[in-house]
């Protein structure tokens, strides 16, 4: 009896190890499949280019409908930056540099990252749920029966809409945030308006800060769209499967955005 008991424990141990291996293999399989889906999406994008209406429709659902949350968040993030920055800078008598602080934080990090996080949870999850549900209700299969490629007709327009929307939303978020910082810093706390703008303008470099922030947001847009589209396309065709895929889109996107952000920052701003 004790003998069989120890073997049982041993079996459990081995099954844990083999389970780990299975999970690793599964992860590689999914990554490979995701890459294949991305390749197919890029190859089948000519339909989106020929019929821009398809993309425009998706830009409406992903981008335009995210406007409110992006603008309001941007305003409040900028206002908080103004408030916190003012209180810290005041200690050193440097509150005239508030504009620099607000602009740098927003342009380089907070603008692209928070916009991407919000976009992933607002629009990325919706795309995953939509494609997943289309799959679960066999709409994708039906398209294939009618010789319509679902990747070209459904996946690619949503992918490109995400890639187009993210940098535009980031620009609006950042502009709104700087206005929020101005509102709190200049109007509410009485920082000198002239030094707020002029110090910002002399510190911020167009190529170094504005363009790099935009490049970041494009990278995030590609990552989010890829994850959202793939999770939807790969979702198990059940109610549970679609809900799991939607959750995974938000979690994976958030982790990828923060990881990518570190990599991109270390590549872009190494001179500082």
């Amino acid at each position: 009896m004790p003998n069989s008991g120890s073997r049982h424990v041993l079996d459990n141990k081995w099954s844990a190890v083999s389970g780990l291996g299975r999970q690793a293999v599964e992860a590689f399989l999914r990554l490979g499949y995701a890459t294949r889906v991305l390749g197919l999406t890029l190859m089948n994008s000519n339909v989106s280019a020929r019929r821009p209406r398809l993309v425009v429709r998706e830009v409406y659902f992903s981008g335009v409908l995210s406007l409110v949350i992006i603008l309001v968040s941007g305003l409040f993030v900028g206002m908080v930056l103004g408030l916190q920055g003012y209180q810290t800078l005041k200690v050193y008598g440097a509150e005239s540099s508030l504009g620099v602080l607000v602009a740098f934080s927003l342009l380089r990090e907070l603008g692209p990252v928070i916009t991407a996080l919000l976009f992933a949870s607002r629009a990325g999850s919706a795309v995953t749920a939509e494609i997943g549900l289309m799959k679960a209700t066999e709409q994708l299969r039906a398209m294939e029966m009618m010789a319509v490629d679902p990747i070209a007709r459904v996946v690619a327009p949503r992918f490109w809409a995400g890639v187009i929307s993210t940098p535009l939303l980031t620009a609006m978020f950042t502009a709104m945030g700087i206005y929020g910082g101005y509102l709190v810093g200049v109007i509410l706390l009485g920082v000198d308006q002239g030094s707020f703008w002029s110090q910002m303008q002399s510190a911020v470099d167009f190529r170094e800060d504005v363009v790099n922030g935009l490049l970041k947001s494009i990278a995030f847009g590609i990552a989010i769209s890829w994850i959202a589209v793939f999770e939807g396309y790969d979702a198990p065709p059940t109610a549970e499967g679609v809900s799991g895929a939607t959750t995974r889109t938000v979690v994976t996107s958030a982790l990828t955005i923060l990881f990518l952000d570190y990599i991109l920052t270390s590549l872009m701003f190494r001179g500082f």
């Binding site: 425009v56 429709r57 981008g63 535009l168 700087i178 303008q201 470099d205 504005v210």
Partner: protein, 157 residues
């Protein structure tokens, strides 16, 4: 009907994004300064020490920005820093005995080059070299001088 209204919204969205980008470029990033930068001419100067001067630092005369530092190089022969300025063509009437100094805005602010025009009739032309220069004041040197002078005082007392 539904279709066209959707198109309008997307148009507004794209326009808003581009407008925000324009605001960031012009109002925040000062790209207008770069794009609208007219003709410039080049001056060089040798400094014994430039402190923390960086490319793109301002070149001021009478406190007004007249140009920017283009490049900073090191001369292994004279052990001096060679600074190249790009000065706005509108301000091309600096005399040859113009004095160039590296100053700091405030106590710990950014460093810039100040041009103090002399009284010579001849003018600096494109590519000319400013011979009269003054090196940057390094804060550590000042503190060191201050400490040694204090030490001298206390030992004599």
């Amino acid at each position: 009907m539904e279709r066209s209204r959707l198109d309008v919204w997307v148009g507004v969205f794209v326009l808003g994004g581009l407008a925000a980008l324009l605001i960031l470029a012009l109002k925040v990033g000062n790209a207008g300064d770069m794009l609208g930068r007219g003709d410039t001419y080049t001056l060089t100067a040798q400094f014994e020490n430039i402190g923390g001067l960086k490319p793109k630092a301002a070149v001021r005369s009478a406190g007004v920005v007249v140009g920017r530092v283009a490049t900073i190089d090191y001369d292994p022969e004279t052990f001096n820093a060679i600074v190249v300025f790009k000065i706005d063509q509108r301000f091309s009437r600096f005399p040859v005995d113009t004095f160039a100094s590296v100053y700091t805005t405030g106590l710990l602010g950014e460093q810039y080059v100040a041009l103090a025009p002399g009284g010579d009739e001849k003018l600096l032309v494109d590519g000319a070299r400013i011979t009269k220069t003054q090196k940057a004041v390094v804060l550590e040197d000042l503190i060191g001088q201050f400490l040694t002078s204090r030490a001298g005082e206390s030992s004599t007392q």
